[in-house]
């Protein structure tokens, strides 16, 4: 019951800040979603840092048959040509519709910052109610002696710097898609 509520809250709050949310049933569906979205928007390239090699291979097959370019790492040299990025995120924070993404890897940072569209995959089991409920997990990261770069992402990039009029996609992604994957276990 509580899980259902969390999904509902997460969806409602994420949609309210402009995130496009879908519930899907598997990673395969997510890969297909990414490819279809790129085709629909007439985009050319995809990046998928952090996906395991099996999923990368499947995505490569899908890209090949759809005539899309799956970018190889390092992405830094192709920074100007990333249309869409597909990544996992670590947690969902329901009451603000926020995604938590451990982005220590430069590939993940570049992919999620420079892409026009960021598609985030999140197992529904990783949705928490509020920042208080991920505080311990975040602190575990921060308390390590190693460097870390952790992002809370809530909707697409936005600004209201000109006449206080909201405009989307000033420097970061113009669209943020959240795919809630139902059957994933933690």
């Amino acid at each position: 019951m509580e899980k259902k509520n969390l999904i509902q809250i997460m969806t409602e709050k994420a949609v309210a800040v402009g995130t496009i949310v879908h519930e899907i049933s598997s990673v395969s569906d997510a890969l297909q979603y990414a490819v279809d979205l790129n085709k629909e928007k007439n985009l050319k390239t995809l990046a998928c840092p952090g996906l395991d090699s099996e999923d990368q291979d499947r995505l490569l097959d899908l890209c090949n048959s759809a005539n899309l370019d799956l970018l190889e790492e390092p992405l830094r040299n192709q920074a100007s040509s990333i249309d869409t990025s597909l990544t996992w995120v670590n947690y969902g924070i329901a009451d603000t519709g926020t995604l938590m993404l451990a982005s220590d890897s430069e590939e993940i940072r570049i992919a999620t910052m420079l892409a026009k569209i960021h598609i985030a995959m999140l197992p529904v089991s990783k949705i928490r109610l509020d920042t208080g409920s991920i505080e311990a997990a975040l602190n575990d990261i921060l308390k390590k002696d190693s460097a870390s770069y952790t992002a809370f992402i809530t909707g697409p990039s936005r600004t209201a710097d000109i006449e206080r009029v909201l405009a989307i996609g000033v420097h970061g992604p113009v669209e943020l898609h959240l795919l809630l994957i139902k059957d994933m276990q933690p």
Partner: protein
Amino acid sequence: MIKTAQDMKSYKKKIRQALGDSFLRSALDEFNTAYRENRPNVYKDIDFNSLRDIIAENKDSLIPFLEVLFEEFRLNAQKAGAIVHRAKDARQANEIIARIAKENKVKKIIKSKSMTAEETFLNDYLEKQGFIVTETDLGEWIIQLKHEGPSHMVMPAIHLSRYQVGELFEKQTDLKVDAQNIDKLVKVARRELRPRFLEADMGITGANFAIADSGTLGMVTNEGNMRLTTTLPRVHVALVGFDKLVSDLGSALRILKLLPRNATGQAITSYVTWIKGANQSLNTPFGKKEMHVVFLDNGRLSLSKDPLFCTSLRCIRCGACANVCPIYSKVGGHRYGHVYIGAIGLILTLFFHGKDNDRAIVRNCINCQACKEVCPVSIDLPHLIKKTYARVIKEEGKTPVKNFLLAKVMKNRKLFHFILRSAYLAQQPLSKGRPLIRHLPAFLEKDHGFRSLPTIAKIPLRDLWQTLSPKLENPSLRIALFAGCAMDFIYPDHGKDLLKLLKKANIQVDFPLDQTCCGLPAMMAAEEKTAKELAVKNIQAFEAESYDYILTLCASCASHLTHNYEKIFREAKEPAMDLKLFTDKIIDFSSFMDRVYKFPQTDQNMNKQVTYHAPCHLCRGLHVTDEPRALIQKAGYTYVPSKDEDVCCGFGGSYSVDFPEISSEILKKKLDNVEASGADILVTDCPGCVMQLSGGLDKRQSHIKVLHLVELLANKK
């Protein structure tokens, strides 16, 4: 380069220019209203007041230990590969950052928004050293192109229209820009700035939090430029004020609940980023970034030891104190701060940028308390502004004429009252027997003619008292009246109305004749010694133990007596005899009539529509809001709300004389809203507001009558 007026004459000139800027005026007026109207929605799931008190308390517990927190931060950040510096002032901070740039053979620098870097004028310094610096926050980029400082701490280019931005972009790109379309303007920035990110050698950011127990920086942003600034270049330098140190993640997350809500009305910003140490960077030989954190003192550590001003270090730079300020909404940030804007700017300017830059702006506070009400860390901003002004006067080493006169006159009640009585005679040629002076002599009319002025009564209330107030046998309550100067000398009729009401309820009212001005005008002029002497005199004049209540019909007096007397003696470290006995008995008119008098609901329908103006010192000073509106309805009138009822009327005592050009603009908006309500009568419960509002409506020759609530209630039957 920022040029803030350093004397009143040039300050006034700048104010007049701003008041003539029609885009600025409408943009900021709309913003002020929209921000306040949106707040209940933003805070519907959060208890703002209790959370801000918790945050303030937490900050206060850390402020004495900023150096300890710094050491803890340094150790933890260094373990993760960051290099941590401390700079004692702006110059040293800039030098450290330039040195880092040189050592790393940096040519091009990109920046994300940082008020701390604005504070040190970092860009100017780096550009002089030959670096190419590009601001990447949209607003900051715009003002960089315009060679201006920010006019708001969160929205730095709020003073510019899309067309002005379009012009700047056309000049920059040599391309035609569709300025009508803001989305397209934003895309110009995306297109133009993207290559700059990719080319830059070094990125400079600020930070919202420096978390000591992990050595992590927290950054709260919306555009995504900060993420690029901290990722693409091989060197990252964060410039952070010592005041951004918090002990742990929990403290930062708590502030994060209020910061975006208070700043931009968002539950959270698009991006909140936690960066610790030297992260991966694939364009460096070792695969890691060069990461530096520069902590700026620039007066913060000595502020942290100041018993009064240490609370200014609680500030989290949300900008809300400007958003709700009626003066900011008229003159804009370039006239309402130096680098830091809004109420907090009037304070911090003295400590970070010196008295010359604060001298004029610090005087421009009307004490309406709107900023204090929305401050997410409960800083008593209006009070600190006056204390800052007192410091400026002290540092200048010469007493302003106004303070000299205030001290001379106010400390001597008989002299003060003699002057007021003489004014009755002096004004006769101008008033021509009317209760209002509509036209002033020509040399005053231009600046001060925006409202008719009330006349001094022929016989003040204190002289009428003996004949008016008979002793009652077995009264139900014993009340002492604190008349306040306005009721005593301008509106004695309000006193007659009060007596009429109270006699009906068998309430004995006394008028202690040694009472004098409450002292608020002295405090507003930072004439602290006089304010204290007046407080002592009043406490002595009222034998508080003999009365059930000390009633005043002036909201400003009520709020001053209730809150400021306590502050005056606490700050002077002089315990005042009977202070608490005195202040505990103070009650404002609306509260008294509603809660104590229990004014009855009438069956009569008065067939008049009444709107209300909430005096600043009643609705915010004493948090009395429901009572006056309930009383209007109990008296048989139809209450019709008008827009922005709780926004200042622009009076502010001598503020309206010192800054008539701003006072008149605030009044204009107020009266436009009052007229739009369709009311026949405008009621308020402060004689100062009555003066301002009736003067303004008289000048407009409006049919709307202005009444003090006591007049409405007394004349009901």
